[in-house]
């Protein structure tokens, strides 16, 4: 037989236990707090006093954060708001010294603020903070005007540097592996760490100098630094428009910028896009350097690129 709980008629009625938070409420609370923490700071690096709907932010924040005897709820959350922005900006400063040099501090900081407001981090690692930057600059030209093309080129180059630093390296294909292959059907992959760039400004030497000057990512760029013992002010030519072709890659775990000829760039780009070897040659010829396009020379190129480990099996081929 079930026994009923003893009743205590002498005790006062207990206050109803406070309503417990649900999982949905937890998620709503985290959304609200994240929104507050990620909102842009004022020019004085304070939390914005005005909420998105025009009401005072302090009222919104006081709704979910407790004050203490020294700080208001607003002041407490402001610590997180400031930390969020300082952390992102620090990382952005470190990853994009070239863009900062091109745009100047004020414009760079404004770009960063607008960029992170529109494209908050979508990755567990801050390494990927800049993954949408090139696209963002393309769609927000006013933020970098009048240095539009220069800024875009630099953002591309600096993202390629990040990719070269720690992207995967597949098992390289050697020239021997290619010997018996049919050029009509052979499709080569290029290493994931290799980026091919066509730039409108000769930014490679300039960026090397800027990075050396700022001592950034020293563990990645020693090799480049050793090549160029010059000061940034000797690289003023970067602002004169001139098309260059670059392979941004990694060799023995150091990042390098290797200049390419237009036909080399066309050939490698065609390979990356999946053209078989023979078709890629044809595209390189179309790029306008046919006169200098000798078989002996092509063999030399492939030897050099293979020695650098640039070729690998194509990912689709591997997955098949």
């Amino acid at each position: 037989m079930k026994r009923s709980k003893p009743t205590d008629s002498s005790s006062k009625p207990k206050p109803p236990s406070p309503k417990r938070q649900t999982l949905g409420e937890l998620q709503d609370l985290q959304r609200l707090m994240a929104k507050t923490v990620m909102r842009p700071l004022t020019p004085a690096a304070k939390m914005n006093p005005c909420w998105t709907d025009g009401t005072p932010t302090r009222n919104v924040v006081a709704g979910f954060i407790k004050p203490n005897d020294r700080l208001t709820a607003f002041e407490r959350l402001q610590l997180y708001n400031r930390q969020y922005w300082f952390r992102l900006l620090d990382c952005f400063y470190e990853d994009y010294p070239g863009l900062r040099a091109v745009l100047g501090e004020r414009k760079f900081t404004r770009l960063a603020r607008e960029y992170f407001s529109a494209c908050p981090s979508a990755s567990f690692t801050m390494r990927n903070l800049g993954q949408f930057l090139v696209h963002f600059i393309e769609s927000h030209p006013k933020l970098v005007a009048p240095e539009n093309q220069l800024a875009l080129d630099m953002a591309r180059l600096e993202w390629a540097h990040i990719e070269a630093f720690d992207n995967a390296a597949e098992t390289p294909i050697t020239p021997d592996d290619m010997l018996d292959a049919d050029p009509q059907s052979l499709r080569l992959g290029l290493q994931p760490y290799l980026t091919l760039l066509r730039l409108n400004y000769p930014l490679d030497d300039f960026l090397i100098a800027v990075r050396r000057d700022q001592g950034l990512r020293h563990e990645a760029s020693n090799a480049m630094e050793n090549q160029r013992k010059r000061l940034p002010n000797k690289f003023k030519n970067f602002q004169r428009s001139k098309t260059i072709y670059l392979a941004v890659h990694r060799h023995r775990n150091s990042v390098f910028y290797k200049r390419l000829r237009a036909d080399q760039f066309a050939l490698l780009t065609a390979l990356r896009e999946g053209s078989p070897l023979e078709k890629a040659f044809a595209k390189a010829v179309e790029s306008g350097s046919a006169a200098r396009f000798q078989p002996k020379q092509i063999t030399k190129w492939f030897q050099d690129w293979s020695a650098l480990g640039w070729f690998c099996h194509r990912v689709e081929a591997k997955s098949k």
Partner: protein, 282 residues
């Protein structure tokens, strides 16, 4: 309790965080260090210099993985791709246990890259513990969760921080990475007794201890990991050892990082307290 099931029955001594400015010294001088703690995320890449450096370290040193982005306390589900990457690293390092923080930091796929404080509610404890269990089952190594330092508290909280920590680790049946500096920082920011905190957590679950320095301002303390450990934090450390026994200990120094020797010397001060504890037990 020098070893327990939350640190895979290891008996690690006093370690320091592996930081890039110290690489040169480590590779050239090969100093004797009990173990290094690595930030998992710094090595969850696909190739290049970071993994080369890690492999060199692993040839000579014991490494334990400490993460900053699992966000066990986020209301969302675990990210399977992230876990797969983490497991690859676990296999590489052979870490005896994996630690991360009792916090949240991402929502709807957007990351704050911060260790945000939890509302201390039963719903939060339940979802957090569930994710810790899932992570442990996937990684196949013990998990220890670290108490974070915090600057804000929620109206909605239903218990104290130490009650929440206890609720989570007991539900998850996991270990604790006890950060005594974080307890000190939060005790100042929220006005509680740090020893009361220590005395009210399940000490038998402590897998590892963190010590660190911080920055004190007039109205609050920021957990900056850029100073030596202050005396009140050493006192908390001594109490933690009394309660938990000799435990793997790690000094965190993440900003304005001094020379390797200076950091290591600061960490080794912990040995004095460990010896006192062992003497007292003997």
């Amino acid at each position: 309790m020098p070893a327990n099931r939350f640190n895979a029955f290891t008996d690690y001594g006093v370690g320091i965080g592996l930081r890039i400015p110290h690489y040169k010294h480590i590779f050239e001088k090969k100093p004797v260090v009990d173990w290094f703690e690595i930030i998992s995320e710094n090595f969850m890449c696909d190739g290049g210099r970071p993994l080369e450096m890690l492999d060199k370290i692993l040839e000579q040193y014991r490494v334990v993985q400490h993460g900053v982005s699992m966000y066990f306390g986020s209301a969302e589900k675990l990210n399977r791709e992230h876990l797969k990457k983490l497991k690859q690293l676990v296999k590489r390092t052979q870490t005896p246990w994996v630690s991360d923080h009792l916090c949240w930091g991402s929502v709807d796929g957007r990351y704050t890259h911060d260790l945000l404080p939890m509302p201390y509610t039963f719903a939060a404890a339940k979802v957090t513990a569930q994710k810790i269990r899932e992570t442990r089952d996937f990684l196949e190594v013990p998990i220890a969760v670290e108490n974070v330092s915090s600057y804000a508290e929620f109206h909605v909280s239903e218990m104290t921080e130490w009650e929440f920590l206890t609720e989570v680790v007991e539900r998850a049946d996991c270990g604790i990475l006890l950060d005594v500096n974080n307890i000190y920082v939060s005790s100042f920011n929220h006005g509680f007794d740090p020893f009361h905190y220590l005395n009210n957590i399940p000490a038998e679950r402590v897998a590892q201890i963190h010590i660190a320095g911080h920055s004190k301002y007039r109205k609050y303390i920021l957990d900056t990991h850029d100073h030596p450990v202050i005396d009140p934090v050493w006192k908390l450390y001594a109490r933690a050892l009394q309660l938990a026994g000799k435990t793997a200990t790690l000094l965190e120094w993440d900003d304005h990082i001094p020379s390797f020797d200076e950091v290591h010397h600061e960490a080794l001060k912990a040995n004095r307290f460990i010896q006192q504890t062992e003497t007292a037990i003997a």
